[in-house]
Amino acid sequence: MTFIPSSGGRVSFPLQQAMNLDNLRVSQNTLSQLSVQMQTGLQLFRPGQDPSGAYRSLTLVSAISANTQYLKNISATNTVLAQTDNAFVSFGDSVSQALEIGLRNSQNTLSDEERSADLAVINSMINDLLSEGNSSYLDRYLFSGQKSGQPFVQDIDGILYTGDNQQLTTLQSSTSLVPFSMKASDSIGTESASGHGDDLSPDIDLNTRLAQFNGGTGVEKGSVAISFNGNSVVVDLSTADDAGDVRSLINSAINASAMSGELAVNLNASGDGFEFVSGIATSASLQIANIGGVNTAADLGIATSTTGYTLNTAGDVFSGRSVDAAVTPTTPLSLLVSGSGLDTTGIQITNGSRSATLSFAGMTTVEELLNAVNASGTGVRAEINSEKNGINIVNVLSGSSYVVSEIQTAAGPPPTYGTTAGQLGVLTTDGSTKLSDFNGGGGVEFGDDRVTTGAFDQNNPTNATSQAIWDSSDIAITLSDSASFPNPIPVDLSGATTFADVQQRIQEAVNNTIPVGAGPAQPWITVSPSPTGQGFLLEDNTGGAGTFSVYEINSSPAGGQLGLTGTAAAGDPTHIYGADRHQGRVVGVLDSLLRLREALMEGDPFAVERATNLLTGDQDQLTEARGVLGARLSVLQLTSDRLTDDNLTLTDTNANIVEADFVEVVSKFQTQQVALQAALQSAGMIMQTSLFDFL
């Protein structure tokens, strides 16, 4: 508002007129603005009225908009999770009913008619759950992961799961990407425990992209500082895309500096990172550090300690740490297995009525391998694992047993096999296999508790220690070197829970036994996963003429249940190939129901009992999944409450900036109205009175 100072001198008519007009203009303008504020309820219309207020308002409105959308996302998420929970309830009810049927039929007290009736119920239940597993919400299947299409498909060998383990995700804050679907594998159970591959520890080459480093999290873009022999250089690596770029940029920078010829970088000898090689004969300290808080050197695995690393002479090497390269579809097979390269002999897959022998010869990348397996039509799913360091080849065909084995390269005897499946860690039975999964889920029964001290003495097999060991053991092994090992060696397996435990027990028991005389060279026995993928492979290394055999003792059924018992064949006297006691089946509700159905059809109460035990585990998994789901809903509710509170605060803050205070505005309006009235009156009176009126 402008202000016209009252003149100290004369007041002319034009001045009076200007003053009146200006006062009226100002008053009317103010009234107009106040009127708009009253009509709209806003006090801030243009950024120019309050630039910083406009800035704050825009950011607040954006935050409110985002929060409102987060709330909308939560609402959608809640609905999907509620639908999923409904499906879980159906699965849970069915499992409970199936358990009752299982318990009833495991007693072998029911008539054929009653068993048939139960079988009909189970058949109906399987169909219902198949439908439930394919339930959808808004045209999206609840259990298909990120795939489209029906996740559960009836198949000649069982029920095939075509979904994946990926989850649907949405935003619930600017930094929080949260899943709103439940993995079918963690709830219903859609894949085998077998087939989850080992860490393949890929090496790098010059074409390895930096994005693969550090388990796939990549390398922070920036510069590194390199000091050596009193000189230093800063290398900008922000444009580097692969290991070759890193080498090239660092060597170029070094060669362009006073360090030229004194230092060079290359891939290290182990092939999993970089190394720096001294080019000078004298001892000098090498320091490599991050710059400006950007972790480039650390991410490349080349950062030294702050005190540096001393290179004593020309050719001395500072080797950086492994960059922990991730496995990607484009990773060359030759870089896997710590750079040794994957054996491309291939693998053999058998799943129900299907089988495939897959040679990887000629393949160069992980992607080609995955394509070959996934296209085999064997009801398995091949994928890079979630840790991005290995490959999973899992069974996704409920109701069907699968075996992944090595390809036999020579019939022998002894037969020879490739090592591909073993290197990948996908042999159906291997070190990580739980003994509880043996025998159709029935597990393994052991004898007495283990004696943990002492060794079995071949020279005195009846002394107290040897006798105690024998009495508590489950199996005995005779070795071919009957001179050094005239007596069978007892092995106590009780307490073992995994395949690897059994391996260890046998190897320790045999290799720790006290031989007659010095005995042959160690190890006397080697136990490993069978290349057939179906159990143990025991190898007698003692080299005698005796018979290599394994048998049960002390009435313990463990040897047979583990498939260990047997005698080496005449043509291959040093090997015992264990029997198949472990089927790589899907661990889940549908597989268990299919097992129960099969057991009921066969009238096998023991199989019914085993299936019932599996259903108990499935029920626990479903309960756990519902717990996770409930926890998610609870977190969502908390997030929703927080966002609602946040929005209230943000809205209130924004209102203080942009919205008009009605009390204040009305008060000002009234005041201004009075002022305008006064201005009009006074102007009228002043302008009307003139001396001419009195002449």
């Binding site: 007129q17 908009s65 909308k72 808004l138 935003l171 990407l177 296209a375």
Partner: protein
């Protein structure tokens, strides 16, 4: 002493009173004219002739009619008015732009961006929903339209200012000619007299005020009463010579700009005062800042948004794609590195790589090929279609497909057409090549004026690249894009895009507020000075009424005096009879 001397004295009094009443009448007639300077009658007594010791004088002499004006104050008031006009015009333009932006309303760009990002969030909850995909495209189109409309609107404002500039040339030149002519008349009329040519000066003051309203002028009055007019360091009117102004054209931000220049020297008229000065300042100083911000906003969408977007995959794969951007035709078939200016890409790629994933529709199998871009700013980097080395993009793509699928047309656009039974996608672009060439991008165009939506996605929203891994249920790329407002970029000065954009609005507000504040300050100054000037120059009716009475009474008294003298003379003449 003459017997008729009394009549002579009264006659002079009658004449003076009559003239006084005419002056009063003229003042009253101009009472409502604010540019009029009131006049006063200047009188002086007439000294008696002869050497008579006792002499009452010979009457009253009309010395002249004087204007009541403080020329220094009037000059200051004119300057203040000129400055106010400049600030007011600048503020007027900024207020107009604020209205065009409507940033605090529901239809502003900020609000539209919020809605667009919300639609992306919606898509994450059901990435296969066609309706949600359509909504994303529509909201993005709204964002692009607003940016384009703003760019057009800013040009329209500049064009309007151009038009006002152009239209003012004749007016300014006519004023200068008028003032030159008035100068001549004033000099002629005032020559050899003490009296001012009041009416002419009033007219000239009026023209000067009109001129100062338009441009920044400085006025110097010569001793002969004529005025010289300068603007900055150059003259507009000097000693009867008019330089005048004319329009000179230049290009600014892609638009022809019309500037006022001196006719002879071709120097620019200063923008420090007058409405045209304010308009020029708004057009040449304020609006370019807004254009720069708008262009940067568009760049961020076209480049940064597309860089993220291009990492993703849609529900459908490509069977054929043609880049929306192009390299310069002169670089075709040569080893011109793609990061060089010769390639002509608005957003050049950098050293890096990207992947093409080929899917055999027959087997469903996917094969991934890595396309390398070796770019280090030198002349030996990867080209689009040169013979190499290094191997060009086209050759690498053809190798990946195992057949000739990539080609570049005469306009510099890259086309990849897969053979039958093969589809392809893109992923993991660390080079920015896809965004730079406009392949698998969402926003098209190269500037705020051309920003739009890639027609392929607009026509088929299934192509919207919501997924990173190609799974239909994956919306992780859409989630990243939905969070775009919270991402920081080098081009935003390492603040979030949201904060950057709010900052541009704050800048608009600051420019507007500064112009408005300046206008308010100059208005106060102008009003104050004008008030002071009006208190001197303005007519006061009461004063004039008193003067009227005074002159009336003087006239009556003089007439009575004549009557008395006449009676005296009659008495004397009667003695003779």
């Amino acid at each position: 002493m003459s017997s008729f001397g009394g009549l002579s004295i009264s006659f002079s009094a009658l004449s003076a009173a009559q003239l006084g009443m005419e002056v009063v009448g003229n003042n009253i007639a101009n009472v409502s004219n604010p540019s009029y300077s009131r006049q006063t009658l200047e009188l002086q007594p007439i000294r008696a002739a002869g050497t008579v010791t006792v002499n009452p004088g010979a009457g009253v002499l009309t010395k002249g009619i004087a204007r009541k004006i403080d020329t220094f104050l009037a000059s200051r008031a004119r300057e203040a008015t000129s400055q106010y006009q400049a600030a007011s015009a600048r503020s007027e333009i900024m207020t107009r732009v604020e209205g065009l932006y409507n940033e605090l309303g529901d239809t502003g760009l900020s609000s539209s961006m919020d809605t667009f990002f919300s639609s992306l969030q919606d898509l994450t909850t059901n990435p296969e929903d066609t309706a949600l995909r359509n909504l994303v495209v529509q909201q993005a189109q709204t964002v692009a339209n607003i940016i384009q409309d703003r760019r057009t609107a800013l040009d329209d404002v500049r064009k309007d200012i151009n038009a006002e500039m152009r239209g003012s040339v004749d007016s300014i030149n006519n004023s200068l000619v008028k003032i030159r002519d008035l100068n001549k008349q004033i000099v002629s009329q005032e020559a050899g007299t003490d009296s001012e040519a009041s009416s002419l000066r009033n007219l000239r003051d009026q023209e000067l005020a009109s001129l100062a309203d338009k441009i920044d002028i400085t006025v110097y009055e010569d001793l002969d009463g004529s005025v010289n007019i300068y603007s900055g360091n150059d003259y507009l009117l000097s000693r009867g010579s008019v330089q005048g102004v004319e329009i000179e054209e230049s290009i600014q931000d892609g638009l022809v700009i019309q500037n006022l220049v001196f006719s002879n020297s071709k120097a620019s008229i200063p923008t420090t005062g007058g409405r045209l000065g304010g308009l020029a300042a708004a057009r040449d100083q304020d609006i370019p800042k807004l254009i720069a911000d708008l262009e940067q906003t568009a760049d961020i969408f076209i480049n940064e948004f597309n860089k993220i977007y291009s990492q993703g995959q849609g529900l459908e794969s490509f069977t054929s794609v043609t880049s929306t951007n192009r390299v310069l035709p002169n670089s075709l078939g040569t080893n011109t590195p793609l990061d060089s200016a010769s390639a002509g890409l608005a957003f050049p790629p950098q050293n890096g790589s990207f992947e093409i994933q080929l899917t055999d529709l027959g087997t469903g199998q996917t094969t991934t090929a890595v396309i390398q871009l070796q770019l280090d700013g030198s002349t030996t980097g990867t080209s689009l279609d040169g013979a190499g080395p290094p191997t060009s993009i086209v050759d690498q793509i053809n190798t990946a497909f195992g057949s000739t699928v990539a080609s570049v047309d005469g306009r510099g656009r890259l086309t990849i057409a897969a053979p039958d039974g093969v589809e392809f996608n893109f992923a993991n672009d660390t080079s920015g090549f896809l965004a730079g060439m406009g392949i698998n991008t969402f926003f098209s165009g190269e500037s705020a004026g051309t920003i739009g939506i890639n027609s392929a996605v607009a026509d088929n929203p299934s192509l919207f690249a919501a997924s990173l891994n190609g799974n239909p249920g994956d919306a992780s790329n859409a989630a990243t894009l939905a969070n775009f407002q919270n991402l920081t970029f080098a081009s935003t000065g390492r603040v979030t895009f949201g904060a950057f954009y709010a900052g541009t609005t704050e800048k608009l507000g600051s420019l507007s507020a500064a112009a408005s504040a300046q206008a308010t300050v100059y208005e106060a100054s102008k009003t104050s000075l004008n008030s002071e000037s009006l208190s001197i120059t303005g007519v006061n009716l009461d004063e004039e009424a008193i003067k009227l009475i005074e002159y009336q009474k003087a006239f009556q008294a003089a007439s009575r005096h004549i009557s008395v003298v006449n009676d005296m003379l009659d008495e004397i003449l009667n003695l003779v009879q």
